[in-house]
């Protein structure tokens, strides 16, 4: 298989260079609540902001404090260093308190000409749904007005169809680990999932074709135990690879840079933006949503049932309130079901933390009798 990890660690990557040459406008976004189909439909390249495991955050620390999560500080650091200067615009969502702060400081200290805020509700009910539909309409209008483009229903339907095809292909690679033989590592899958947000849809679809053609001929990986991962925003490919190096094959995850990308089906009828709004709002599977734990738990139960991990490792980034608390309840519930769980707090991107985390995972594998 091509070096997915290398491709995923480039900033800017070759897709960005090609898009710039074509004159395609690139819009930065950070959160899974952002429906990328709206950008695809307008001919934009939506690029999902990542922290790239950056740990030197001195520029960001002048704005965000050390009590804010490392992922957001790393993203802001890259922005202030100019690494994301290829963005023609920036779209904020109120994913969490840290993310709001990151965007607010970004736009204050290093503003983009186009800045739009999608206000995502925290509840799923009819009022929230109607609001979110309006928010997507406002996003579409803002893009149309600023970039002088037109986004038609047909464009949206075509973009939704293409994303549906991509999800099908991505799912085939992702779920290939659910049999006894695992041929794609968790690190590679995480790389592929992050590329979903850093390549234009057509390019990513072609990349998936290559991956699908290549992986079945690979020899199975050797492993001691099957693991599922979950928790805070984790795009740290090296971290997952390092953890796998002690013998735990990652067969599934519930990261927002991972398994949560597979949103449920959208309703089949209704205007495209309403269908998108429903699909995104009701399938975020993020602890930022309230009164929605049962749905998140069912999502994780389903992943566990189908991927058959020997144990689950739940991470939270230091200062991540959402996952830090969610993991307490998840651990209790999963352990009641007889699923072994290891909860780990991590400092985002910190190479110095990897040794400690590996030791904990090694001990967990021993606890699993593997």
């Amino acid at each position: 298989m091509m070096d997915l990890k290398k491709l995923a660690s480039e900033l800017p990557n070759r897709y960005v260079e090609e898009a710039r040459e074509r004159g395609t406008k690139i819009i930065g976004y950070a959160c899974l609540a952002t429906p990328r189909e709206v950008f695809d439909a307008g001919g934009f390249f939506p690029y999902r902001i990542r922290g790239m495991s950056v740990t030197r955050t001195e520029l960001a620390d002048a704005w965000l404090s050390r009590f804010n999560c490392g992922f957001c500080r790393s993203c802001l650091q890259l922005a202030l260093e100019g690494a994301y200067d290829f963005f023609d615009g920036l779209v904020e969502t109120n994913g969490c308190d840290h993310l709001r702060g990151m965007f607010e400081n970004w736009q204050y200290a290093h503003p983009r000409d186009f800045f739009h805020y999608i206000r995502v509700p925290h509840l799923t009910n009819q009022d929230s749904m109607d609001w979110f539909v309006e928010e997507l309409e406002l996003l579409k209008e803002a893009l149309e007005k600023h970039f002088e483009v037109s986004i038609t229903e047909e464009d949206l339907l075509a973009a939704m169809s293409l994303q549906g095809d991509i999800a099908d292909k991505l799912r085939r690679v992702y779920e290939s680990r659910w049999g006894d033989e695992v041929r794609v590592s968790g690190g590679e899958i995480l790389a592929l999932m992050t590329l979903e947000g850093s390549a234009p849809a057509e390019d990513f679809s072609r990349l998936l074709d290559e991956v699908l053609a290549e992986y079945p001929s690979r020899p199975p990986l050797k492993y001691r135990a099957r693991l599922m991962l979950g928790g805070s925003a984790t795009d740290e490919i090296e971290l997952v690879s390092e953890l796998e190096s002690v013998g735990g094959a990652v067969v599934a995850d519930s990261f927002c840079f991972g398994g949560r990308i597979f949103r449920g089906e959208e309703p089949l009828d209704g205007p495209p933006l309403r269908r998108l709004a429903h699909r995104y709002l009701y399938n975020l599977m993020c602890p930022r949503m309230f009164d929605d734990y049962a749905r998140r738990k069912a999502f994780i139960d389903d992943l566990i049932e189908r991927s058959r991990p020997d144990g689950v490792v739940l991470f939270h980034n230091k200062f991540c309130d959402l996952h830090g608390v969610e993991n307490v309840k998840l651990r209790m519930d999963l352990e009641k079901q007889g699923v072994p769980v290891l909860t780990l707090e991590k400092e985002y991107g910190a190479a110095a933390d990897i040794g400690r985390l590996k030791t904990r995972v090694q001990a967990f594998l021993e606890r699993l009798g593997k």
């Binding site: 002048a62 704005w63 965000l64 404090s65 009590f67 804010n68 999560c69 957001c72 109120n94 969490c96 308190d97 840290h98 709001r100 702060g101 990151m102 607010e104 400081n105 204050y108 805020y117 206000r119 509700p121 925290h122 509840l123 009910n125 009022d127 929230s128 609001w131 309006e134 602890p287 930022r288 309230f290 009164d291 734990y293 939270h316 230091k318 200062f319 309130d321 959402l322 830090g324 608390v325 969610e326 993991n327 307490v328 309840k329 651990r331 209790m332 909860t343 707090e345």
Partner: protein, 477 residues
């Protein structure tokens, strides 16, 4: 006691309840000798805060405040025992009058209970915090809610019949710990989200959420809102509001006639008793005391050195070392974001106008208003700059409660903007507002002293010198 498991009868609420029942028997005024005797009987942690409260400069008002809180705690406990009533734990960013408009509903405010525990109990709130940590709750959560909720999680304390969660969108830490307690303790939760959009569209969505929320509460409490009772409660709230603005004006005099600790009393009153006659009595007492001090020119220090607006919250684990210590050194605590709550008068002409007013009150409640806005910094800067100018403050302090990820994430901007707009210097401290283990009082005092001596005072002298120079130039000198 910290580190011990919580045993039945040792929960935070139960201990507070026992203590306030004693306080309710205390005379409305105590002599110095009686205070001396009382303090000798108290354990060390309790003594330091009670001693601060019983300072002769505002002893009567402190006793009035403690009794008001005492009645509130006792009634909350009794309401929970009464099968016809419902005691609902609400967060601090939620107006209690929303529950008082129900005859059978009673609000207990989570963060006020934590503050009571921290300020009145031996061992402060540490054992309840430690209990929550023992469950795996992360140590960067907010102690303001986690201490009281940790006590509930122990299963050995008073348990409310429902929770209100009113911070989604404004504070993740607060929302998530409430959600966890609701799940683990099987306490129903009622969630009210504030849309971040602050214009007409956001307010309309919020009104729809609020109507749904009230309807859920009506079902849970088993009572349809009665217009007459609503009016009675909201007119009492209006009376307290009127006094609030009288009180606000008094802060503008220099030296400030309002004792530092009255800031705490203001939100203690706002967060527990707004809509009850108790709040009116408390606000009136604070206005009267401050007026008397103004007329007499009383100020506890030789001169007022620093007029300080606290941009967010204060510290609550050592009243003596915080509020009184500052005041005695000429450092005036000119309110913080909570006491600058700017309550609104309710239009009590109809049930609908009252419901709309309540929705508006939730929307504009302190902290929700600023942190739950489109921009976390914009309204915060706007509000605080206005207060700084209005109060004639010459400095501002951010307490840096570590769990406040929203304020922590924009304080860099806010500090710069406030300095640019008002010219006052801003000190950023760091500490846990409810747990003394993180930054002890002595360190906070050193930092404040250094700020006041080296920045505020010098700036004031420079400012005065520059004025004198300008005057000389005008006079041709």
């Amino acid at each position: 006691m910290s580190g011990h498991a919580v045993r039945p009868g040792e929960g935070l609420f139960d201990r507070i309840s026992n203590l306030v029942r004693v306080i309710l028997r205390v005379k409305d005024d105590l002599s110095d000798e009686e205070v001396e005797g009382l303090l000798r009987a108290l354990p060390a942690d309790t003594r330091r805060n009670i001693e601060a409260l019983l300072n002769p400069r505002f002893r009567r008002e402190s006793i009035l405040f403690m009794k008001m809180i005492g009645r509130w705690v006792v009634e909350g406990e009794e309401a929970a025992r009464d099968p016809r009533r419902r005691t609902i734990l609400v967060p601090f960013n939620f107006p209690p009058e929303v529950i008082y408009v129900f005859r059978r509903g009673f609000p207990l405010t989570c963060e006020v209970l934590t503050t009571l525990g921290v300020s009145m109990l031996e061992g402060q709130g540490e054992r309840y915090w430690d209990y929550a940590m023992g469950l795996g709750v992360p140590d960067f959560l907010c102690s303001s809610s986690t201490i009281e909720l940790g006590s509930i999680l122990s299963g050995c304390d008073f348990k409310p019949q429902a929770l209100v969660q009113s911070a989604p969108g404004a504070c993740d830490a607060n929302s998530k710990i409430h959600e966890l307690v609701s799940h683990l303790m099987e306490v129903p939760q009622f969630i009210l989200e504030k849309p971040t959009e602050g214009g007409a569209r956001g307010k309309e969505l919020h009104r729809r959420y609020f109507r749904r929320f009230i309807s859920q509460l009506e079902g849970f409490i088993g009572e349809e809102l009665d217009e007459g009772h609503m009016r009675e409660v909201l007119e009492a709230a209006n009376a307290a509001t009127d006094l609030y603005y009288d009180f606000y004006e008094l802060h503008k005099a220099s030296p400030c006639p309002v004792p530092n600790i009255f800031s705490l009393f203001t939100y203690g009153t706002r967060f527990t008793s707004w809509g009850r006659p108790d709040a009116v009595e408390m606000m009136r007492a604070m206005v009267e005391r401050s007026r008397r001090r103004l007329e007499a020119g009383d100020y506890p220090a030789e001169r007022e050195v620093a007029r300080c607006v606290w941009l967010y919250i204060g510290y609550y684990f050592d009243f003596l070392g915080f509020f009184n210590w500052m005041e005695e050194r000429g450092i005036t605590y000119l309110n913080d974001v909570l006491s600058l709550c700017q309550p609104m008068r309710y239009d009590t002409s109809s049930k609908q106008s009252m419901l709309d007013g309540l929705a508006e009150a939730v929307f504009e409640y302190p902290m929700t208003r600023q942190m739950g806005a489109d921009s976390m910094s914009a309204l915060w800067v706007e509000d605080m700059s206005r207060f700084i100018r209005d109060m004639g403050a010459n400095c501002a302090v951010y307490s840096g409660h570590h769990a406040c990820k929203q304020t922590q994430s924009v304080i860099g901007q806010v500090r710069g903007e406030i300095n640019r707009l008002t010219g006052v210097p801003v000190l950023c401290l760091s500490g846990d507002s409810w747990i003394r283990r993180m930054t002890p009082t002595s360190v906070l005092q050193e930092e404040l002293t250094s700020f006041v001596d080296h920045v505020v005072s010098k700036k004031g002298k420079r400012g005065r010198r520059s004025e004198q120079e300008k005057t000389r130039q005008r006079q041709g000198g």
